[in-house]
């Protein structure tokens, strides 16, 4: 569709939640177009332009969901609830919750046991996985996330789920296992 037609329909685009959210560019690193007006208003401007493109694009978040399961993240973090690793659905972030922090955690690992996936995954895969991880705690617009995954039901229908991030009870002592 030639670009003038797209520009003329921008108003309707606001209604349809922005047209770049559905861009199905499989290349993995979409052209860093300026993110749609709507999302810049809601969230502060990012240091790395790639963050917005991965985080605001349903296709990238869906790929991130695939890699989250392929790279065995569910083994330690389950479907976001935690287990060996910490929970990714609540507001407690040990190493920061911005896209860049999550990408850092995935590619370089963390001292207390998070393995480094730097050599094992490409940059695009890491960015997509980070986008999905942040969608677990509702840091990604609702229209981007999928209703459910095709497997074991890991939660009740979204109308019963509370929409904002879950505020976990932070234990009184500090996080570190060693006093």
């Amino acid at each position: 569709m030639p670009s003038p037609c797209r520009a003329s329909l921008l108003i309707v685009a606001l209604l349809a939640g922005g047209c770049d959210q559905m861009r199905n560019d499989p290349r993995g690193h979409p052209l860093p177009e300026t993110p749609p007006l709507v999302s810049t208003v809601l969230s502060p401007v990012r240091a790395d332009p790639r963050a917005a493109d991965y985080q605001n694009n349903a296709f990238q978040v869906s790929n991130g969901q695939l890699y989250y399961h392929w790279m065995n993240c569910t083994g330690c973090h389950s479907e976001g609830g935690g287990g060996i690793g910490p929970s990714l659905m609540d507001v407690n972030w040990r190493y920061g919750s911005t896209m860049e922090d999550v990408v850092q955690s995935i590619s370089n690992g963390r001292p207390n046991g998070m393995p480094a996936f730097g050599g094992k995954m490409t940059a695009a895969q890491i960015w997509q996985t980070a986008a999905y991880v942040r969608s677990l705690s509702q840091h990604v617009p609702q229209s981007i996330r999928s209703g459910r995954s095709e497997g074991l039901s890991v939660g009740e229908p979204s109308t019963l789920r509370d929409p904002h991030p879950y505020r976990a009870v932070t234990p009184k002592q500090d996080e570190a296992t060693v006093k």
Binding site: V12, N24, I144, E150, L152, P157, S158, T159
Partner: protein, 641 residues
């Protein structure tokens, strides 16, 4: 309005001619200007809008088909990306099936049926207007989404789990599913209006046995819509709930089933293709009778075939699912059912050929389309019989053989009769005739282009080319055949373009047509072309199947309807004995506003399920005002002695 003498307020021998025409126009006129245009409830205006919109979608979807054929003309061609091609073939299928085929048949019927039955307006006139607006908003939503790269890309029947939440990220399939909700509401509304008009508002004396065949086919189609469309509305509702809210209707892990989608969809899917085909048989019956100068041979046989087709259509949907691994004995039942549905169609073909054989055929352009229809559709019907057999279908299913089959039955079986009917009723719509010469040129181009495009597809299908591939490797033996198809597609497009240009040009420059240019027999040819806003000054009475041929000028009429108030006559279902004079609804803006409120609710519910709750309020208000009883200001009726 001038205060009229109360006893002159009714049409009758003393109030007739010019004076009656003036008063009736005064009573049935709609307010002028845009507000009047938006609030019109006249079946002719709604019918014309429907036809023009449907043909608009037909052309746009046709352009998409050309893009697809250009991409497939050469192997491994990189003209468009895979994602774009998937969106285009989904939009082509969805637009053709949901936004063109079914609505255009209803549109022609909305215009022609009241004239055929000799009544002044359709039964639920405001519901009729509401149906058009819902259809229009559904179409606009789909195509705006396509322009914004949010077009659906899971195929026109969007099998789960590909169309499910995990494998179709984003809002693409939601838009598709919501479009289904729009078109189902529009389809059901139009069907209710159609069935009620045919059953309750026929001209006095037009018993069921004297009803024109097109009215019979539209009655069967209306009832089929009422039974079939809810299945897909439920299916798309469940898919939206799965995708947005997280229910598990189609998730095999949690007691759902991926095949549930297919069963529900095809339970609607197959009746849908007959909902498209049966009105076309109505067109063919009307045109064959007119241009063979005699009524259709064995009228009862044709009517029974229509009803049989309508009933059998609901019993054979599983032939779309022969490869999904259901029990083989069940398949044998569906093979038999799919074969049986060919019998009523075979009977109708015989009756049309017999009518031509028995009559003195006149080869005007509509008759050419009838001949083209028979030649093309029978091939489609026969390949359909082949696909009904399980062993053959297991090889041919989802290949280009099936693409050829359904284009033969849809373009051959429905678009050819539609183009013929448009040419046939064009003088009644516009008062002018389409040019015969350009009509023949258009027919030739469409006929040759069609066969050149779709016949080779039988062979590409036999050579193993699967459906819906955006490209194919070279050296498979498919290259030349695809090239031929692509060339044929452009010829076909040229044919359609010629037809459209012929229609547009003749709007003004066509030969002026009198009330009955083809010397046909139906009641629609008893009124002027284009008919006045109230259709008939006096409601005609009917004594046979071909009133104009039998009574000619001395068509008996029934008088007594009010002149200063909108009124039409309701007759009994079987014998069409006049029973009640009923007020017909006045033009009102509320169907449009209700459609806007409900439409916005549907679109917003794609983004948050709570929109359904919030949207309920404006919708309820609009509907309440629409249905609010208007106390009649006119003094009560003296009873007819």
């Amino acid at each position: 309005m001038t205060d009229l003498d109360p006893d002159l307020a009714r049409d009758g021998p003393e109030l007739t001619g010019e004076e009656l025409h003036r008063r009736l126009t005064l009573a049935w006129r709609r307010p002028a200007g845009l507000y009047g245009w938006l609030s019109s409830t006249d079946h002719k205006e709604i019918g014309k809008r429907y036809i023009v919109t449907a043909f608009g979608f037909f052309l746009v979807a046709g352009v998409l088909a050309l893009v697809m054929r250009t991409q497939l003309a050469r192997p491994e061609s990189g003209l468009i990306t895979a994602d774009r091609y998937n969106q285009i073939f989904t939009m082509h299928g969805t637009t053709m099936m949901f936004l063109f085929a079914v609505p255009v048949m209803e549109a022609v019927a909305i215009y022609v049926i009241p004239l055929m039955l000799g009544t002044r307006n359709m039964a639920f006139a405001r519901l009729n207007a509401f149906s058009f607006w819902m259809y229009l908003f559904g179409g606009i939503m789909l195509w705006v989404a396509f322009a914004l790269n949010v077009g659906p890309d899971a195929g026109w029947f969007a099998y789960t789990p590909l169309s499910g939440p995990e494998f179709s990220p984003g809002k693409r399939v939601d838009i598709w599913a919501q479009m289904i909700t729009f078109t189902e509401v529009a389809g059901l509304a139009a069907a209710v209006v159609m069935a009620t008009t045919i059953l309750k508002q026929r001209a006095p004396g037009m018993t069921l046995a004297k009803m024109p065949l097109f009215a019979w086919s539209m009655l069967v189609v209306a009832l089929m819509i009422i039974f079939a469309l809810p299945a897909v509305a439920l299916d798309s509702g469940m898919l939206i709930s799965d995708r947005l809210v997280g229910t598990h209707f189609f998730n095999p892990y949690e007691r759902g089933d991926a095949l549930l989608w297919q069963h529900l969809f095809w339970f609607f899917g197959h009746p849908e293709v007959y909902i498209i085909f049966l009105p076309a048989t109505g067109f063919i019956s009307e045109m064959t009778a007119t241009f063979s100068r005699r009524p259709v041979f064995a009228y009862p046989a044709v009517v029974l075939s229509l009803i049989a087709t309508g009933l059998l259509a609901f019993g054979l949907w599983v032939h779309h699912m022969f490869a999904t691994g259901l029990p083989r004995m069940g398949y044998a039942f569906y093979t038999a059912a799919s074969m049986t549905v060919a019998i009523p169609t075979g009977i109708q073909i015989f009756c049309w050929v017999a009518t031509i054989w028995l009559g003195r055929p006149v080869y005007r352009v509509p008759m050419l389309w009838v001949i083209g229809f028979i030649v093309t559709f029978v091939i489609g019907g026969l390949t359909g019989v082949m696909l009904a057999s399980v062993p053959l279908d297991l090889q041919l299913h989802d290949t280009y053989f099936v693409v050829a089959h359904f284009h033969y039955v849809l373009i051959g079986g429905a678009v050819f009769p539609l183009l013929g009917a448009t040419t046939y009723w064009f003088p009644k719509f516009t008062g002018r005739l389409m040019s015969e010469a350009w009509g023949k040129v258009a027919f030739a181009l469409v006929f040759c282009g069609f066969h050149l495009t779709f016949f080779p597809m039988h062979i590409t299908g036999m050579m193993g080319m699967p459906r819906r591939v955006y490209t194919y490797p070279a050296g498979m033996g498919w290259d030349t055949l695809n090239l031929i198809s692509s060339i044929g597609a452009f010829i076909l497009a040229a044919g359609f373009a010629t037809f459209i240009v012929n229609a547009l040009v003749c709007l003004r420059k066509g030969r002026v047509a009198g009330p009955d240019p083809w010397d046909a027999a139906g009641l629609e040819w008893a009124t002027s072309s284009p008919p006045p806003v109230f259709n008939f000054p006096h409601i005609p009475a009917v004594a046979s199947r071909t009133p104009l041929w039998d009574e000619g000028e001395g068509l008996p009429v029934m008088t007594g309807l009010r002149v200063d108030e909108r009124e039409h006559l309701t007759t009994t279902v079987i014998e069409a004995i006049p029973s009640v004079r009923e007020p017909s609804p006045h033009p009102t803006i509320w169907p449009l506003l209700s459609a806007i409120a409900i439409g916005v609710t549907f679109v917003a519910s794609i983004f948050t399920p709570w929109a359904l709750v919030v949207g309920l309020v404006p919708s309820a208000i609009a509907l309440a005002i629409w249905f609010w009883p208007k106390n009649p200001t006119v003094p009560p009726e003296p009873t007819i002695e």
